[in-house]
Amino acid sequence: MTFTRALSQVISVVTPLALAPLLLGWVNQVRAWLSNRRGPGILQPYRMLHKLFNKDSVMADSASSLFRFAPYAIFGCMLLANAIIPTLSTDLPLASAADAIALVGLLALARVFISLAAMDIGTAFGTLGARREMLVGFLAEPALLTVLFSASLNGKSTALATIVEAVVHRDFAIYPSLVFAGMAFTLVYLAENSRVPVDNPSTHLELTMIHEAMILEYSGRHLALMEWAAALKLFAYSTLGIALFLPWGIGQRATPSSLLFSLPSLALKLVVIGAVLALVETFSAKLRIFRVPEFLATAFLLGVIGMLTHILLGA
């Protein structure tokens, strides 16, 4: 591994780490604008993280070692997930370490850890959140897999880099299987990032919350890691969507300069995605928890239909 390759790998890890809170701040800011508020500014998540890191961590007296270990593990999983997704370039040293299926496995690992940590204290909120998270997860995970399978049938590979290159190098056309997969992915994207129709990131009402219920017992630096991991997750899903459906502009060489060139197109796409996400959240109402399985089953079925269309039509 040459120095430039290593450097570009480091850049592609540090970029999500630095930009993830910004994306979250942007989404929140647009949400505020859409509801006629001024909003805290897009840098608010950074201030939040800085504040939380400086605070003492208050931990429940019944917390076990798993509870303290979990934030680091979840943060690590999310960071690695970002390193695997071809965000800026398709030719990176770590790209071969994991393909699409392994990426889903990694996200599932983080989910299992966050659910277990939520169950550790043994309060009603934590266990409730953990149960709901696993409920969302067990339907969203296969749905995401079917989306990735449609894409890998198209690219004849499960390696994300190859999928991206296959889409970039083909004639620009609307592929029916990718349309279905894109619809399924949008639903999974909302559900997995605790966004409005499924969960609400800005509520602490016990009847509705999922993600917030799980991290209720965290504070100080542990909470900061959890929040940062959540931002990284949103960033990872966004860049995954870009890689699968809008990959034009992603560099194909592993040099720092080519990475810098692909940064503006990434930023542009993320700005649009963030704005659309805020729009969707503003215009939709939260589902009852028992409508959520139907929502995700729709995503799952759309994913399966995507695979079937590919096999039927060959596109």
């Binding site: 208050v58 690590g76 393909d99 277990l116 043994g122 909120f125 266990t127 890691l225 096999i311």
Partner: protein, 673 residues
Amino acid sequence: MLNMMAIDWVLWIIGAWIALGLLGIIALHKFALVARVFFPLGAVGGLILAYAAAQALVSGRVESKQLALGLPSLPFHLRLDALSAFFLVIIGLASFGISLFAAGYFRNGEGTAPGLLCLEFHFFLASMALVLLADDAYAFMVAWESMALTSYFLVTANHRLPKIRAAGFLYLLIAHIGAIAILLCFGVLQANTGDYTFANMRAQNLSTFWASAAFLLAIFGFGAKAGILPLHIWLPEAHPAAPSPVSALMSGVMLKMAIYGLLRVCFDLLHLHIWWWGVLMLALGLITAIFGVVFAAVQVEMKRLLAYSSIENIGLLFAAMGLGLLFRSYGMNALAALALTACLYHVAGHAFFKSLLFLTTGSVLHATGERNLGRLGGLIRFMPWVAWLALIGVLASSGLPPFSGFVSEWLLLQSFLFTPGLPQPFLNMLIPIATASIALTAALAGYAMVKFFGVIFLGQPREEKLSQAHDAGKFEKIGMGWLAILSIGLGVAPNWVLHLIDPVTKGLVGEGIARNASANGWWLVTPTSIARASYGPLYFLFGVMAACAVAFVLVRLFYHARLRRSAPWGGGHSWRNSRMQDTAEGYGQPIRQIFEPFFHLERHLPKPEDTEPEYSVAVSDKFWEGIYMPIARATEYVSVKVGRLQQGRISIYLLYSFITLLVILLLVPTARR
């Protein structure tokens, strides 16, 4: 002595296990001797067995032998080829951990005498090894039946409880129905030659009809042992009844003997492969997998939960085998090898993580006396060793990277994604549905396993006495630790395992994937080419660990690390108790609601006027009502009718004999003509 052939080593170990068992009879009530000396000796035997079999596997020799046992002129034909060697390695490695655990687990004065347990346990191990060596139907059936019998006695170790006797009987019944089918299958395979050696069966060319008959009999017979739908009902009864090391051995190792038998019959003894065999097996496997995992998610008893999870894993193995068969029937041997590799990888992975999980339930049971999830909780504080080891088993079982379950799941999904090459369009259409069901099964397995671990080990203790729970003993820790190391090792070093699987698939379908898989370095698995798919578990392990470490160090460096302890937030209320946590039933409730048609539910809802309202819900298997109870009722009905013949008077019986004689005499002239 050291340059003996591998098959001799295996036979010596089998002999040693039998000898240890017989010594157990002599030391019937000497608990310390049996537990602390005999069981560890048996464990060492397992390790030697694994080593010898691995040598045979790597060298690629096929060794055979005849033992003049049994009836005159009907010797035991024995043969050690790659397939049996691979399964012997699994028996050896898994039994090392389980036997060590058993050395610390069995207590004096519980049910069967310790010496007798030692006899049954080691005979069980020996008969499983002999099943793998058998090269004729006669030796196979003898070993198969002694495996069933010894495990029956082990299941009923605590035979004073009527419930356990009933569970044992159910197990024995289904095992024997299966054995009859296997016997008939061998009968078909020898094609009227009267020669029951496997060598002869391999030489026969059966017609499509008879080959299909043999295949269906094999599916039924071995499926009964493996627990395929609808013959699975004995698993959730027998596993909770058996002592934990025995459940571990049965679920982790014995179920795999059925997989071995199917592989032997379908890929070695039968030469004909018809596409619908593969489809049938695939469909059976997928239905079993989804059914098993949905039921696992709603169980409230920890060993039942694991038993249903075993059903799920057997389903996945069947699906992988079915896919292999499908590819094989179209002559796509390289892809068949990939599917079979996924199957064999999962055989090994499941053997270790499921044994580990059953052993942890044993430790929990001993420490608390409770097997109901609703009365456990918070045990990570009192038994950290067991909890962290169980976590490894749970992560492996949920198919998460970088543990063993993920590698096999990954290989299986890869082989599914290669299918669009199949020549029949409608088969290609089935594949996305099959792939989606595998993905759903894997995700649900995570749900069930989080429930298992979270409810037992996390949260508040749900009973007062749980705070008295003690961690596992020395032997138990070593046994579980060994299986945990194997689960991690299988997850992070897949290429070494693939090299062991390679000779097996080469023997079965003539191809192997190991050379391709390690073409880009030993740390990276690439089943076909690096552009197509790759997975490097070590990157995963080190990536996550490095990120954890960097985050940890940076937080320490730039900020402080002060920590305060206080009571958890109780929503503004000052009182809080362990009853406010989610229960096992509550955790399964979403699954019960979503998959309601799967279950037979019995709800008891309180009425408004009840002074002491009670709520209960019981989930049971629809197959009992749907299939087994009608059969049982029909049997009873017929036997009542037949019972009328038995009047208990000599004169009536003489009349029967007379009528029989008359009928026979009438038939004789017809037969002569």
